[in-house]
């Protein structure tokens, strides 16, 4: 199918769906492969970076959203209150999920060295993360970031996020200094 037409159709479907739609769901509607849909959605993400409506894509889910660059204006229009800030504990937990997803509760707690039940519940309630079943072990729940996570932090493309190694390259434990 003509690529321009496919992209246009994806946009229309996402507009009326007005909720996250998975590539798999789109595959059932469109008569093209999931690979082609992924390629088209990647292009849509790139094409719409400066548009008023952008396409958010993460973990094979797609959703249309307003451009975070227009955040101030949209807030004014919606007469929204300032939202509640995330706590340190929630941010730590979120950072681990972001860079290790999909990740288990045990792994998160191992890294933080502390029970993270409350932070996880808080992040789940706010819709910033979601639980998925582990592919290897159906009894295990793993955590991932969501489209809401992108919206909340104004991330337009997951590719814009810095690489973990790059971000933490200067982090070392304290070295001995002569007193």
């Amino acid at each position: 199918m003509d690529q321009t037409k496919l992209k246009s159709q994806i946009l229309s479907v996402l507009f009326v769906a007005s909720k996250p739609v998975s590539i798999k769901e789109l595959g059932e509607t469109f008569e093209v492969s999931e690979e082609e849909l992924k390629k088209a959605s990647n292009e849509l993400v790139a094409d719409n970076q400066t548009s008023g409506i952008i396409l958010l894509a993460t973990n094979n889910k797609l959703q249309l959203a307003s451009n975070p660059d227009n955040s101030v204006l949209v807030k004014k229009f919606l007469a929204l209150e300032l939202r509640e800030k995330l706590t340190d504990a929630s941010l730590e937990t979120l950072a681990i999920i972001l860079y290790r997803q999909p990740v288990s509760k045990a792994e998160i707690e191992n890294i933080r060295g502390v029970n993270s039940q409350y932070s996880l519940r808080h992040l789940l309630i706010r819709g910033l993360i979601e639980k998925v079943q582990s592919a290897n072990d159906k009894r295990m729940q793993l955590y991932k970031t969501t489209l809401e996570f992108m919206q909340h932090l104004g991330i337009k493309d997951m590719k814009d996020l810095p690489n973990f190694e790059e971000l933490t390259k200067n982090i070392t434990l304290p070295q001995a200094t002569p007193n």
């Binding site: 009326v16 769906a17 007005s18 909720k19 952008i54 958010l56 959703q63 249309l64 959203a65 307003s66 451009n67 975070p68 660059d69 955040s71 949209v74 807030k75 919606l78 300032l82 939202r83 800030k85 995330l86 340190d88 504990a89 941010l91 730590e92 979120l94 950072a95 681990i96 972001l98 860079y99 890294i111 933080r112 060295g113 502390v114 029970n115 489209l147 992108m150 919206q151 909340h152 932090l153 104004g154 991330i155 337009k156 810095p162 973990f164 971000l167 933490t168 982090i171 070392t172 434990l173 304290p174 070295q175 001995a176 200094t177 007193n179």
Partner: protein
């Protein structure tokens, strides 16, 4: 050194802070040095906010293994315990890295840029289709029934809470009594007891005080009254 009473996100957060405050390099020696401070923080936590106490104790145990090893190099604690303790440095570094990533997310959060999606859903619009038998009379009757049900819920049976006395309260009480009166007896203590629970608590408090060598007990004959004195006072 005083440890700030600020809230730490967890034991690794605390340990990192202790080491960085002292400008120590992360060696087993440094970890052994901050063990005391770590333990005193945990003790404080035990009283104030015991929610994550278990997690702090895990790290405290590792620190103690490291400290024991630095004092007694020949001590053999088993490979597994030692490895898990000496892995602490790697664990700290990994935690610090994620703390940095969290800082990055905080900056994003603070820029307050955000996007919104629209909530209308064309595929499933909600409409209200009442039952054809429904009329105003039935609605008002249902509401009255509901109000009657609520009355039952509001009139829940009431129970009076009994005052409970804790062992530590009792210990303080007995200590105060002993320092004022120098001597007292079990029977006079039990006379004050208002319930069976309090009798038991009094007895447990006495056992604890005896164990801690704060009071001494003496009984001159079988089933005789037990005299309670300050520990060491009858020897002098």
């Amino acid at each position: 050194m005083q440890i700030k009473t600020e809230q730490f996100e967890g034991p690794l957060d605390l340990l990192l802070q202790l080491i960085e405050d002292q400008r120590l390099d992360v060696s087993t020696l440094a970890l052994a040095k901050v063990t005391e401070q770590f333990l005193s923080y945990v003790k404080n936590l035990q009283e104030k906010n015991p929610i994550n106490l278990a997690d702090f104790l895990v790290i405290a145990a590792k620190l103690l293994v490291i400290k024991s090893k630095s004092l007694l190099p020949n001590l053999d604690l088993g490979t597994e315990e030692e490895e898990s303790a000496f892995d602490l440095t790697a664990q700290l570094l990994r935690y610090k890295k994620y703390k940095e990533a969290a800082k990055f997310l905080r900056r994003l959060d603070l820029t307050r840029k955000q996007s919104w999606t629209h909530e209308v859903d064309f595929s499933d619009r909600v409409i209200f289709v009442p039952d054809s038998d429904l009329n105003v009379r039935i609605l008002s009757q249902t509401l009255r029934n509901l109000a009657a049900e609520l009355k039952n819920i509001i009139r829940l049976p009431k129970e009076i809470m009994r005052e409970v006395i804790s062992i530590s309260d009792k210990i303080n009480h007995i200590q105060k009594l002993i320092s004022e009166k120098l001597e007292t007896s079990l029977s006079s203590l039990l006379k004050e007891a208002k319930s069976k629970t309090e009798v038991i608590v009094t007895f447990l408090a006495l056992l604890e005080l005896t164990k801690q060598r704060i009071v001494a007990l003496e009984q001159s004959e079988h089933f005789g009254d037990i005299m309670i004195t300050k520990h060491g006072s009858n020897q002098t």
